[in-house]
Amino acid sequence: MTSVAHAAPAHGGAHHAPMSFWRKYIFSTDHKIIGIQFLFVSLFFLLLGGVLAMQIRWQLGFPGQPLPGGGILPESMTSGGVILPEYYIQLVTMHGTFMVFFAIMPLLMGVYANFLIPLKIGTHDMAFPRLNMWSFWLAFTAGLIMLAGFFVPDGAPRAGWTMYAPLSARPDLSGVTYGQMLWCVSIVVLGLSSVLGSVNYITTVINHRAPGMTWFRLPLSVWALFITAILAVLALPVLQGAAIMLLFDQTIGTHFFDPLAGGQALLWQHLFWFFGHPEVYILILPAMGMVSDIIANGSRKPIFGYHSMVFAIVGIAFLGWLVWGHHMFMSGMNPTLGSTFMVSTLLISVPSAIKVFNWMGTMWRGNLRFTVPMLNAVGFVSMFTIGGLSGVFMAATPVDMHIHDTQFIVAHLHYVLFGGSLFALFAAIPYWYPKMFGRMMSERIGKVHFWLTFITYNLTFFPMHILGMGGQMRRLYDPTQYDFLKPQQPLNEFISIAAFALFAVQLLFLVNFLWSLKHGKKADQNPWQDNGLEWSLPSPAPHGNWERVPTVYRGPYEFSAPEAGDSDFLPQHVKLATDKEPAGRFER
């Protein structure tokens, strides 16, 4: 065991002076350590978001009944163990906030952009390692500020994760003063973190690719992360600006969003969704990119339509800027404008469908290997397809009139965020786990986790479509208070029970993740027999990655290539007799 651990740096790691624990693991500038820091922190927020969701489900399934263990919560949240309406809206608000900003977004961008970009493009570290460290610690601080909301007087914000004004702007309306302010401050800090991180990713991808790593030899995961970083750099500042205006409305008496003083409530919605829709693609594009890598690997075939995949990513990202109004069909917006947004939104299904068909084309007649990452990646494709199709329903203005702000929306966004992004993460985490920690996650627990998640997930979220069509409102506290919703209550109970099971199953993943850190099977250098540059390094990858960065001779998807002889894969850095050295002068 020791021999492996000591031999590793000699194989490929650049030599560095030994560092203290603090410099190595806490204030690290190594992109891999920063990625792992993001991983632990955002998994914590994912768990926290899940705990909040369970309380929401308890209230919806069993309104008026004491929450099990609810007695430990203070009087301001529960009364006799029953969740109070004020606490319920805080649960909904913070579940959305934590999941979007502190779980899924950092899991995709914080973890995998950091970890994968330098490894996959072949460089020693990010362009600005210190900026990268700042990016993590700013995100961490933002998380703490957001968390602090629960512990200040009046508790967490109550205006929903979309923070619609004037409810969010006026404490006399929301009943919360400090929680709302903390939300704004936290978002401003988080935005700065995302911008700094993305500046780093963009610069690194443009300037630090290994010799021979041309644009069209980049893995699709890197393409997706690169385009996502561009979205983040341009979208997050808009949210920051909006959050600052909201904060000023709450603190120094400005009137941006207060209609009584001439401000415009709709202005908040426009600003929020101008950020919010690109944000949707920030939350899905990296998942798509990583799934593309994993599906090609699991199918042992080149990705179907590589160029069209790249252009689809670019197309989705571009169209993502033109569609924000589809969140506002019911806001009293000019109907003609609504039609424009409807058409631009429907257009997005074209590049999305291209991607889905390309994934299917990749798998078609492939030599499929149903490993845990592959299972979850296929789960991603199928669930994303359902989520994408329900998106087409909402894009159509007349249909949206009926389902706007109902559980149908909740179903849709969970099909793309849980069924999409989170399944992709359940694929990506075990896939790159060996390169992070040098060990494999348990395949057996992984498979059990996948199937149980897949079943309970669909049992939880699919019926929400029906609830929504039946008219159950999105953030409703107690469905039984309306007669027309009473017949649906058994379905609410069913969903809640399925949701509890879904949550319980996630503990399997958590156990697998933590247990494998110490006890997992030792990983080979290239356990998935993949072509990416990261697999040319020992597991775990050493500090500084390569002594001398490798040269790239081909794209990342050369599976089952005839030139490879007996092997069914051909890594990007392996030089065949027919390969030429890339032209030009390179610094390594």
């Binding site: 610069t203 300037n207 630090h208 808009v238 600006g241 000023f248 941006f256 401000g263 030009g584």
Partner: protein, 240 residues
């Protein structure tokens, strides 16, 4: 050894670039960051435009509330600092690390990097100072982020001439004015602090040379951007 060399160097950075864009990473990173900053100011300025032109009530006439001559002087200061930034850049591109040096046959001494950076820092700091002074004066007259303070001089003026002083829109005026100019001032302050840091860690120890002056070029990009934003703000907030 003329400034022509400096302009030529702008196209070809004096250090070898990484394979990729042909622009070194600090400069590329700054351009990307500025793109993000454009979006930030777009959010603020766009909101201002929507709030101001989305309502029919009269907005305060130019100069009614704000002190345009004072701010015009401040604008001049900031433009001067942009000029001195270019002079600093040109000086180091020619390898002039010194403060001032006498030139035979010339009345004025020739400024080097240390001189022109100091001028830039002083102009920038003065801009912030004048802005703070302006804020104090405005708040004293009763112009706050929440609008005209009750009982203040401006509130009295607004009561007599509601159209000229935009009596009904003073809340929006205060909101957008203080937010936009305040965040611009914050950007200038950040620039001054960064330049001071560079001044003591890099400029005074003479770490920049004609071969490598990436820090000056990068902070210069930021500085000119902040200057440009101010010219836009001055036009749309003070002059129209």
């Amino acid at each position: 050894m003329t400034h022509v060399t400096a302009t030529a160097n702008m196209m070809h950075p004096p250090v070898p670039a990484e394979p990729g864009s042909g622009v070194y990473s600090n400069k590329l990173g700054m351009w990307v960051f500025l793109a993000s900053d454009v979006m930030f100011f777009t959010a603020l300025i766009g909101s201002y435009i929507i709030l101001r032109f989305g309502i029919t009530d009269p907005w305060a006439a130019p100069g009614a509330v704000l002190n345009v001559p004072l701010t015009a002087f401040n604008t001049f200061l900031l433009i001067c600092s942009s000029v001195s930034m270019v002079k600093a850049y040109a000086a180091i591109a020619d390898g002039k690390k010194y403060f001032l040096r006498a030139v035979p046959g010339k009345l004025l001494r020739d400024g080097g990097l240390k001189f022109w950076m100091l001028v830039t820092i002083i102009c920038g700091a003065m801009f912030v100072g004048v802005q703070v002074f302006e804020y104090i004066k405005l708040v004293g007259h009763g112009f706050t982020p929440a609008g005209f303070r009750e009982g203040s001089t401006l509130a009295e003026h607004a009561a007599t001439d509601a159209v000229r002083y935009g009596a009904t829109t003073s809340g929006l005026y205060g909101s957008s004015f203080f937010t936009m100019t305040g965040f611009h001032g914050f950007h200038v302050t950040c620039g001054v602090v960064s330049m001071l840091y560079l001044y003591f860690t890099k400029v005074l120890p003479e770490k920049y040379s004609a071969q490598d002056y990436r820090g000056i070029e990068t902070i210069g990009l930021y500085w000119h951007f902040v200057d440009l934003v101010w010219i836009i703000l001055f036009t749309i907030v003070y002059l129209i």
